[in-house]
Amino acid sequence: MIKVEQLTKKYPGVTAISDLSFEVGKGEIVGFLGPNGAGKSTTMRILSSFMPATSGRASIAGHDVFSDSLRARMHLGYLPESVPLYGDMRVSEYLRYRGSLKGLSGKKLRNRVEVVKELCSVKDVENQLIATLSKGYRQRVGLAEALVHEPDLLILDEPTIGLDPNQIRQVRELIKSLGERHTILLSTHILSEVEMTCSRVIIIHRGKIEASDTPENLVGQIRTSGTVKVEAKTGSDDPVQMIEKIPGVKNVSVNMEAGWQQCSIRVEANSDLREAIFRLAIARHWVVRELTQERATLEDVFVELTQADD
């Protein structure tokens, strides 16, 4: 559905993305992650043919986004980060206007406008001026607009930014249900959302792809070097010194709280040191109230990949 080859975009003095290549297949929901300024929006803007790349190629459904831009745009529903809308139009008016701009007319247009209003639950504000809508409604109107011409591909730039937890959940459900019929490329900072909705994740950092895999595989890779948490009363012992003697421990940091030593232990790959720590605690008569191997999350993957060389 999307094919990006050696895409590079340079702004005066800055290289926003360099030599980016990836593909998104039909029916995938791909999460596009990266720190602010990593080049996510730039990539999306090029894909939506809003601006040209400095070099490289990108195509949507086989149509080059630059040389065959109109046909590429026909296949695309795009929701920019800021969700720009015309404040002095009413919701229905706006959707009708956008629908006709995207080539719908007559009965088909009326139908589609009704369908997307229903789908994005903006039916109850259909006659309101867009300027008077809350952030959550604006976001959903934007989404309805992106969907109005039944595009095969949706590109959503941070669709859940600024929403409250309930609205985030609604939008997430919506995206999930859309994924059954549309290919979706979405960027976000809410990683739990990606874990729940996306079939694949692309992490970019400083304009380069750092990882591209399913969320499970990414988390699996990082779980191999994890963290063990111990909370214990160690009496006169210095827990740092003693734990560091256990083979496989990388480093230990300690935090004292009301008599309890809270140790955070970084361990080497593929090792579970909980047993060794348990034995140590028994031998030294420590009182232990917590001993856990922390599950790595996509957040850990994200942090590790995007902070490594800062």
């Binding site: 803007r45 809003f50 109109l70 795009y78 720009p84 015309y86 139009m89 008016e93 701009l101």
Partner: protein, 240 residues
């Protein structure tokens, strides 16, 4: 692009325009009532100060939002990722503004028709004398609307766009006056200003005398301005 009629500003413009037009018409009638005159109502109406003030002020107001607003709201991004060509956007915005501008003159046309209908046929003059000024309004309007489009494409701020277009429109209008200000102006200068003299055009058109220079100069300048608008628009969009 029907965006114009969705906006409350359109109705405010319409309202004030009607007032100015009404004043202008009333002024024309009043003047003709005071003393017998060789001029028709049409002539007096289209050559009054009220008319020119309304005429010159209306362009910045109509055109200031066209592009500036899209850049400001960021709707340029959704607009240009819809399957529309850049020149289509420029052309349709220009046409929308032009149509709105023309619709502003409709009520005044109604004044004349009703006035003639009530029995003062001779005070209106011939049909040609009535239609010629409207034709001129269309042709000069095209040029000034295109000027406004260009001004609006330059900036993301409506007020700045309005100021640029006001300065350009009025500056262009005042070129006419060079001949009145400069004594013994050279024939060359007079020839040049004859092309841009909107006051003089109106003077002759409202008498029913059509000047062919007008039909060449304004449409070609309009086209040139729209091409420039297109270039500026595309440049700003790609830099965005």
């Amino acid at each position: 692009m029907s965006v114009f009629y969705y906006s409350p500003i359109a109705y405010i413009v319409l309202f004030f325009f009607l007032i100015l037009n009404g004043l202008s018409f009333w002024f024309a009638i009043a003047l003709l009532n005071r003393a017998p005159s060789e001029n028709t109502v049409v002539q007096v109406f289209f050559n009054s100060a009220f008319f020119w003030i309304a005429y010159l002020l209306v362009f910045p107001v109509i055109t200031m939002r066209l592009f500036a607003e899209e850049f400001k709201l960021g709707t340029i991004e959704t607009l240009m990722t819809a399957p529309v060509r850049d020149w289509e956007v420029v052309a349709s915005k220009f046409l929308a503004a032009l149509i709105f501008y023309l619709s502003l003159w409709l009520p005044s046309l109604l004044y004349f028709i009703v006035f003639g209908w009530l029995g003062n046929r001779s005070a209106i003059g011939s049909a040609g004398q009535l239609w010629a000024p409207y034709l001129l309004l269309l042709i000069m309007g095209m040029f000034n609307v295109a000027l406004g489009c260009l001004a609006s494409a330059f900036t993301s701020n409506q007020i700045v766009a309005a100021m640029i277009s006001l300065v350009l429109t009025i500056g262009f209008f005042f070129l006419t006056l060079i001949n009145y200000v400069v004594n013994n102006s050279s024939p060359l200068l007079r020839d040049i200003t004859a092309y841009v003299a909107q006051l003089d055009h109106m003077d002759s058109f409202s008498r029913g005398v059509l000047d062919s220079r007008v039909f060449v100069f304004y449409p070609s300048m309009t086209f040139l301005l729209l091409v420039m608008t297109y270039q500026v628009f595309q440049y700003r969009r790609w830099r965005a």
